[in-house]
């Protein structure tokens, strides 16, 4: 099992490379102890090791193993806790305990540890990119422990020392590689988040070809050619700013510039290509990658959430149709796009609508209004198309009283009598059901807010619970299986804030971070900003929440069938 306590927050090379002070403090004794250990092995030909030398050398092995484990915990490298830390450490500590004595049976341990190290090494070629470093580390540190036992074991014929010399030289090279070079290297083909220019930079999928790069601020320029950097821009539904950067195969450098400062971020795309994040759904996919990284999963990105419709989400969409039909609506406006997930979701919605006798009208972004019933295909998903940004003033004129500047009250007209027994929709104001990705959802919600798309409530697919989409005043309702204020979700938000603060909390990221599906039935939640910005000088602060400044409140019981 692989593990990484802190997989994020690597440090990019600023133009003047710098590293964490504590890491440097750890590296020095590790390399020093390594020299002592290897030197002791190599010099046994000419100077047999006395008790003190054996203790110092075995102690050096303990320092190397422990120090290397510490360095690995703060790097993006996955760590095999059992094989890469626990076993070598136990062996090294045991060697230290045996060092004052001359343990003739130590040859058995030396042989067993060497075989084990070779076994780890043998698995490297067939392992995934993310696991190769872990296997290499396990092999090297097990070999370090083997050397420690070699030091405390009485030497017989000099010829027996030859393998030990080879092993010592291999350990010297391998440990130096791990200690001095590897921490600054990204894991080949695995999305990474690095510190640069005082913020974080996300690169996903870190594969050859087009990659998404996220930075904190719009206008920050990124690219592989420092003479031709492109500005990052905001993307609908997502935090931070984004740019598409084409990476070559293997190792290269990503340049990040803001103001007069430039930083270099090392990248290693490897050879095989990854999923396509250049589409409108790229930021959602990148959010899923971040969620996995935060969970300690150092894995290459194999696919994106928009590639398929989760059966559980399909159940929720069917239930949504049931809810809408139960409120007496006879039609819905469906907002979809061309992604595989959206296409599948639209099929589910149309089937459910037929069962409930609800008419489905398609809507496509771009200000063309509603298409005829079921006549519209999937909407455009062009990532750079602009959404209607301004909101028209209230345009209704329903025989309202004029302004009363004299301070005289107006008598409210009598109520319309006993009222109607149940909700009745206004003609032409069908609920809007959004099964598209973040970009088209953003366009649709802005159209609802502005009145360009008249709607009685905006029912969002479960994957659309992101703060930027909820901030748009469009009467959003989202089916969820747990409350966004549940401790598990807040833990995820806190992990994001600590590890990737520019990444907005999203269902895709949460699902990847959580790893297992949520078992509870879905309820409908209303979501909206609940505060207005009364001051632009102050800024909000407080505990991390899924939707800062807003509310997500349960407004229904469990939805049947979920």
């Amino acid at each position: 099992m692989t593990w990484a306590a802190v997989v994020l927050a690597q440090h990019g090379h600023d133009v003047a490379p710098a590293g964490d002070g504590w890491a440097t403090v750890v590296r020095v004794p590790v390399l020093g102890a390594l020299v002592v250990l290897v030197g002791t092995v190599l010099l046994r030909f000419v100077a047999p090791a006395g008790r003190a030398v054996r203790v110092v050398a075995a102690g050096g092995a303990v320092v190397v193993v422990a120090g290397e484990a510490l360095l690995a915990s703060a790097s993006p490298r996955p760590v095999d806790v059992a094989a890469g830390v626990a076993a070598p450490l136990v062996l090294a500590v045991a060697a230290l305990a045996a060092a004052p004595f001359r343990v003739r049976a130590g040859w058995v341990v030396v042989a067993a540890a060497t075989v084990l190290a070779l076994a780890h090494l043998g698995r490297v070629p067939g392992a995934e990119a993310g696991d190769r470093v872990a296997l290499l580390q396990a092999a090297v540190l097990t070999a370090v422990a083997a050397l420690a036992w070699f030091v405390v074991t009485p030497v017989g014929r000099p010829a027996a020392q030859a393998p030990a010399v080879v092993l010592a030289l291999a350990v010297l090279a391998g440990t130096t590689q791990l200690t001095a070079l590897e921490p600054d290297r990204p894991v080949t083909g695995v999305p990474q988040v690095r510190d640069a220019l005082g913020g974080r930079v996300l690169v996903a999928p870190q594969r050859p070809g087009w990659n998404l790069v996220q930075v904190a601020e719009a206008g920050t320029e990124v690219g592989t050619d420092p003479a031709a950097l492109a500005p990052a821009t905001p993307r609908p539904g997502a935090g931070g700013a984004w740019a598409l950067v084409e990476l070559p195969e293997g190792r290269s450098t990503l340049w990040v510039r803001r103001g007069g400062e430039t930083a270099a971020v090392p990248v290693d795309a490897g050879t095989p290509t990854g999923p396509d994040l250049s589409s409108a759904d790229g930021p959602e996919c990148a959010a899923a990658a971040v969620g996995a990284l935060l969970a300690g999963e150092v894995r290459a990105l194999r696919g994106c959430p928009a590639d398929h419709l989760d059966p559980a989400d399909a159940d929720v969409l069917r239930a949504l149709l049931g809810f809408v039909a139960g409120r007496g609506h006879r039609s819905v406006t469906l907002v979809e796009d061309a992604s595989a997930r959206s296409v599948a979701a639209a099929v589910v919605v149309r089937e459910a609508a037929r069962r409930h006798g609800v008419e489905v009208t398609g809507w496509r972004p771009g200000g063309q209004g509603a298409a005829g019933p079921d006549s519209a295909g999937p909407g455009s998903t062009a990532p750079n198309s602009t959404a209607p940004d301004s909101t028209a003033p209230n345009s209704t004129s329903a025989g309202t009283p004029g302004p009363d500047t004299t301070g005289t009250g107006t008598s409210a007209p009598d109520s319309t009598g006993p009222g109607t027994p149940g909700p009745v929709s206004e003609p032409g104001r069908a609920p809007v059901l959004v099964v598209a990705g973040w970009v088209t959802a953003d366009q649709a919600l802005r159209a609802v807010a502005s009145g360009a798309l008249p709607g009685e409530g905006s029912y969002l697919a479960p994957w659309l619970l992101t703060a930027p989409l909820l901030r748009i005043p469009a009467g959003q309702l989202v089916p969820l299986r747990t409350h966004p204020q549940e401790p598990d979700r807040l833990d995820h938000v806190a992990a994001l804030a600590a590890g990737a603060p520019d990444t907005t909390a999203s269902p895709a990221g949460y699902a990847a971070w959580r790893g297992t599906p949520e078992p509870a039935p879905a309820r409908l939640y209303a979501a909206s900003l609940v505060t207005m910005q009364l001051s632009t000088t102050g800024h909000a602060h407080g505990s991390a929440t899924w939707f800062p400044g807003g509310a997500v409140a349960p407004v229904s019981g469990p939805l049947p069938g979920t």
Binding site: A412, A526, V555
Partner: protein, 563 residues
């Protein structure tokens, strides 16, 4: 040598003790922990846990008065502070009754005044949830009921409460229905809303067990002026109905509410520049049938004499608060805006009530800072309350207008309103000249500034809410309710997410016989010289949970200690 040999053993003992201590009782320290719970209409269990400190324990017959503070933090809680004059634990937080499980409520208001036998209604702005608390055995608090978002389908975002004689309460819900579209209220009427935290808001009657007894529309059936009442998304019938302040005269069968904002909006990019998202309206309801409040009138507050460079800082918007007169011979009510104006109408039973501006915060600022007074536009006036004897009108102002000198200074001030009320149904007072803005109304019945005390808060916010101390310790050793208000509580916090925060202190202000005000310097944290109790602290009775944001405040006494 013997001692040296014992050193390792001693170290082991010390390390063991340290380990046990660090793993031991939760951060509650020596607090006594009790929990009460209720089941919500969603089938879930909701609970409140008391963390009573040693200072909360009975003092052998000494009766005590408490200040309840509804506060938000890592875990939201109702704090119980010792507010007993002369107590050696004066100002101590003796209990924190934490809301278990449900975080991020953004604790907001409770009722304006607490009377013996009443439950406390404490609203969560963000969670759209109301917690009904039994405070009869203070300093212990028990959860008596919970009202959840789904319990009020036609409204959201609860703000303030008024408890009726039968123990039920009216709550003002600023936001629209949970689900956009038509919503049918318990009186059978239907209004179309644009959804949660949108419009129109409503009035909800809640039982002492937390159940919804009635939902009443705050919007007219015919709608209001769309140019004045922006709704996003637009509604078929525009409405300004986003009630915030709420007060009641049961003897007159009237309820008054004041409209604030359609609360879901940032200034940009959701609304066009210059659009009116702040409301300038006050609503009066007939509550002859408590279960079916009926909207009688919607009044727009008139513009005043100030001409502000920023139109959003003109007098009539937003009408955050309203307060009614109390004595049977009076029928008037007041309303205040966040832009410095106080309005008055002499008769809330009139079919078409007439409102007039009778005071401007600028007059109080000029009294407090004669040399260079701050502006009142954008001063964010909030809590407004008549004294039970109708002599005084108390008001809390968050800060000086943006950009002003002394902008960091909020105010607590009191107006003598006796002459205004004596004018009956025909008041003369009207602030309609710039001179009257800073000097007070020229007419003889205009309110007179009786006292003012600045509260300097260097943060983005300042004093926002308050409560009157309506209890007096009698010669019999018991507390009695009084109409003679001699003390106020004030909390320095608005809502952090709006950019108006506060330094999170709770202060007490003494009120002299003629209304003169002074900060109670004895009400402070132990070992501190600075007056007021600071909620930005590391440790609480419920543990090391860090800073908290105090909003609603309320004086209360245990049932057995009040007669």
């Amino acid at each position: 040598m013997a001692i040296a040999r014992r050193v390792p053993a001693l170290l082991v003992v010390l390390l063991t003790v340290a380990a046990v201590t660090s793993l031991g009782p939760p951060a509650a320290g020596h607090a006594t922990v009790t929990t009460s719970s209720v089941r919500g209409t969603d089938g879930q269990k909701y609970s409140v846990t008391n963390h009573l400190t040693a200072e909360a324990r009975d003092r052998g017959g000494q009766r005590r008065e408490w200040l309840l503070v509804w506060a938000g933090g890592e875990q939201d809680f109702l704090a119980v502070l010792d507010a007993t004059k002369g107590s050696r634990t004066y100002g101590a937080v003796v209990n924190t009754a934490t809301i278990d499980g449900l975080t991020g409520n953004e604790p907001h208001h409770m009722q304006y005044l607490w009377h013996k036998g009443q439950r406390v209604y404490a609203g969560g702005l963000m969670s759209d949830t109301v917690f009904v608390l039994d405070v009869s055995r203070l300093p212990e608090v028990r959860l008596a009921g919970v009202n959840l978002p789904a319990d009020t389908p036609c409204g959201s975002v609860p703000d303030a409460f008024w408890v009726l004689r039968d123990g039920t309460a009216y709550g003002s819900y600023m936001g629209g229905p949970n689900v956009a579209g038509p919503c049918t209220y318990t009186n059978g009427e239907t209004r179309v809303g644009n959804g949660f935290a949108g419009s129109p808001g409503e009035v909800v009657r809640i039982g002492p067990d937390g159940r919804t007894l009635a939902e009443a529309p705050a919007a007219t059936a015919a709608g209001e002026d769309p140019a004045s009442c922006l709704n996003v998304p637009a509604l078929p019938q525009a409405t300004c109905a986003n009630p915030h302040g709420i007060q009641v005269r049961e003897d007159l069968d009237r309820m008054v509410t004041s409209d604030f904002f359609e609360v879901r909006h940032l200034l940009q990019p959701n609304v066009p520049p210059g659009a009116n998202i702040a409301r300038d309206t006050v609503r009066i309801f007939d509550i002859g049938d408590l279960g079916a409040p009926k909207l009688l009138s919607v009044s727009k507050m008139p513009d005043g004499p100030r001409v502000e460079a920023e139109p959003a800082e003109e007098e009539p918007r937003p009408v955050m608060e309203t307060t009614v007169t109390n004595r049977p011979e009076h029928r008037g009510a007041f309303a205040s805006t966040m832009n410095g104006a106080i309005y008055y109408t002499p008769d809330i039973t009139a079919a078409q009530p007439r409102w007039r501006q009778v005071f401007d915060d600028a007059t109080a600022f000029a009294k407090a800072f004669p040399a260079d007074p701050p502006r009142s536009g954008g001063s964010a006036g909030a809590w407004l309350q008549t004294s039970p004897d109708d002599r005084f009108l108390f008001h809390v102002v968050l800060r000086g207008g943006p950009g002003s000198t002394h902008a960091e200074a909020g105010l607590v001030y009191v107006l003598d309103i006796r002459e205004l009320l004596r004018s009956g149904g025909d008041p003369r007072c009207s602030v309609d000249t710039l001179a009257e803005v800073t000097a007070g109304g020229a007419e003889p019945d205009c309110p007179a500034l009786a006292g003012v005390v600045p509260i300097v808060d260097p943060t983005t916010g300042g004093p926002h809410w308050g409560a009157m101390d309506n209890f007096d310790l009698g010669r019999d050793g018991y507390y009695h309710e009084t109409d003679d208000i001699r003390r106020l509580a004030v909390s320095n916090y608005f809502v952090a997410q709006t950019g108006l925060d506060g330094d999170h202190r709770v202060c007490l202000v003494d009120v002299g016989k003629r209304g003169q005000l002074s900060l109670d310097r004895d009400f402070r944290d132990r070992g501190q010289h600075r007056p007021c109790v600071d909620f930005d602290r590391t440790r609480w009775p419920h543990g090391a949970r860090g800073p908290a944001r105090p909003h609603g405040v309320l004086f209360a006494v245990a049932d057995r200690d009040v007669r």
